[in-house]
Symmetry: C2
Subunit: 412 residues, 2 copies
């Protein structure tokens, strides 16, 4: 081990470290940040870390539980003004001795991975937190809807990761060669984790049903929508296994990327975009399923933005919008105008396709609108799909776990 | 039926209805709203309804599916400029003939329930959408934590509704006299709907475990926190059935109402309140449970506000806050100061109590912090709780269904 070490005693009031350790390393205090920040040179780059953050993230056994991989600091005794008394830099880690005598060790790679530079934060966000999305319109559907193989997803972690990444990036994917069995879809879900249950059950069968509690279970034209917008915890991803496709005309799917459309409206119909991101409406589903009554209501705009102005969720359903309008009466007519425009643009920029038996159509239910054209069952041809939902919490978790596993990374 | 009817033919361009129907009824156009609004006198009160909203909510069989209780209008043909050609008022309903000849009927009670007046919207929001919350501090715990009986909840809809309302209003409740069985809690959950599964399973056992994947499964002091803040769809309500309580010192619960504390900070520590509502941090859980790897991350502030500035969710955990800080370095130290103040106030305003075997402690996991003091198992006394989560989507749904059922209301 190349040990490059320089120690200097400092008082509790010390205002700066300016320790030249060797040609490539420098520990100093960045005086512009109230002397609360360590500046550290790592491979020619100066990285800065607040003292409070370093102390909070000490990895010794008193501060961090090794198997629970969790901080176990007693917060009622935590000193947010802790300062280093001494810092020693080694080839690939630093030793910090704090003013109360506590000692912490931080690997340089560990620190670099957590660096506060905007470039590093951007990289971490897009590569590990959530993969960046690529938006598309109908004419590009065949390029973005990647085809994956059922058996490969079941047997290979690489194939599983590729499929999940495609689904998160493009919002849609197709699994082919699925065994003709009502339970096949469960094995795919198990590769991720577990399904999201709703009041319609864990799995649902999409076929024509008389006296249905849901218009999706009719053979008539199913207008473009998101599923279950009346759930605050709206199912993240919809997996639809086609067991029997109709031989009649129709039964085609339509699919549109609302992230593309939101962006298009932002640029070309800004007033309507603002109305759809601002005005809350009430999504609703009231009925009985398997003997259990439900009365779901959820208020949100058609296009929900996060704190950074990015689209995080889209809600759209003609049948499942309630008839209470929660805002002022003056907002009603302009809202209907914006809503109708949104629907028209979704149709305009949608893709149309018919899936084959053995296909599982997978799409992001809080990003895409999906619909289906009218069809006709016959005695020996009854269209039948098995559907199941999985939440994004589980999918992103699986993507991250697989990335770390396949890249053999140690992040903690 | 008292039939008071007055008809007048109107052209598509008609600008106003001013039909005096009888002393108590009046249909007229409110000219201040671009002639797009019907003003209707119902029991001495003038209620206004936009034409587009009325047309959208027509309840005839062509527009509304009777069993799916859903709109089935073909939106691509919907005319947002539809205007009534003729309106007839009867004692308890109105008939509207639209300019394309379509006829709609609306009950006056149905309309009144959906009226756009701020008073009505406020009433509907607080009585049906979501019951208003009552905030509290530790010294009031005994008044707000209502006691409910296990058998009554299982057998009576009134008892079930009362329990769920108390839980939603105060964020905490206690179920007593629960049978000493690991499955008893399931029967309570079934009365609501179904549990929320997480990567820790459907149910979880809280007891001291060596080499745990979660610090909750230790007998050491468990600092106040919310469960699973790293889930975007964070479990809504936590039910903890105490099967065995410790006979040692400790094992007490602490509980605090963060809605009270958020409000307190807003008034007394506004800068820190703004930091905690603005600054996103990363909540994290990484490990393996039952052979399945998980890598959960979720970014959000400690106090999440909705569009109306109301607290909708609180996230707090010392062990389960990740070590990536997603914001600019300048935000770090002020954030730690605000976070420490928040924790101190939660301790200051918390309640402390010890539950008995046979109790199920129920609390709002996105509103309360909960913790537990250190205890000591012995050979014949191993503290054991069974935990399960249920989402607010299912609880509010059950509350609404029960209200309608018990009041014998027909809302659709």
């Amino acid at each position: 081990m190349l040990l490059i070490k320089k120690l200097r005693s400092v008082s509790n009031l010390i205002e700066s470290f300016k320790l030249n350790l060797n040609k490539n390393s420098l520990i100093r205090n960045a005086s512009s940040y109230n002397n609360d920040i360590l500046a550290l040179e790592v491979k020619g780059e100066t990285l800065k870390f607040p003292y409070v953050w370093l102390r909070d993230n000490c990895k010794c056994e008193k501060c961090f539980h090794p198997t629970a991989k969790s901080r176990i600091l007693d917060w009622s005794k935590f000193d947010i003004n802790a300062k280093p008394k001494d810092i020693t830099k080694h080839e690939d880690y630093i030793h910090v001795t704090w003013n109360d005598g506590h000692v912490s060790t931080f690997g340089l790679n560990w620190l670099k991975f957590r660096s506060f530079t905007p470039e590093n934060q951007h990289k971490y966000t897009n590569e590990l937190y959530k993969p960046s999305k690529v938006t598309w319109k109908g004419e590009n559907f065949n390029q973005v809807c990647r085809k994956h193989d059922y058996s490969e997803i079941i047997s290979s972690d690489e194939a599983l990761l590729n499929w999940l990444k495609d689904t998160s990036v493009y919002g849609v994917s197709l699994i082919q060669n699925t065994p003709d069995n009502v339970n096949s879809i469960d094995d795919v879900v198990k590769r991720i984790g577990f399904p999201k249950q709703t009041h319609y059950g864990v799995r649902f069968i999409v076929q024509n049903v008389a006296n249905t509690s849901n218009v999706a279970y009719l053979s008539s034209n199913l207008q473009m929508h998101t599923d279950l917008p009346y759930y605050e915890y709206c199912p993240g991803v919809n997996l639809l296994h086609c067991l029997v496709q109709t031989k009649s005309l129709g039964g085609e799917n339509t699919l549109s990327d609302c992230h593309y459309i939101a962006n298009y409206m932002k640029q070309n119909h800004h007033k309507e975009y603002e109305i759809l991101t601002d005005t809350e409406v009430e999504w609703s589903d009231i009925g009985t399923e398997n003997g259990n009554e439900f009365y779901k209501l959820y208020r949100s705009p058609v296009i929900s933005l996060d704190k950074h102005g990015e689209v995080i969720r889209v809600n759209f359903s003609i049948p499942q919008r309630g008839n209470h309008f929660p805002g002022p009466i003056e907002q009603v007519k302009p809202w209907y105008e914006a809503y109708s425009l949104f629907y028209k643009l979704n149709q305009q920029f949608s893709a149309k396709f018919k899936v084959d038996p053995g296909n599982i159509l997978v799409f992001d239910n809080i990003r895409m609108l999906h619909g289906r054209s009218k069809y006709q069952d016959s005695e020996d041809n009854i269209r039948k799909l098995i559907g199941v939902y999985v939440d994004w919490d589980e999918i992103y978790s699986r993507i991250r776990s697989l990335k770390v596993k396949l890249n053999n990374e140690t992040l903690y």
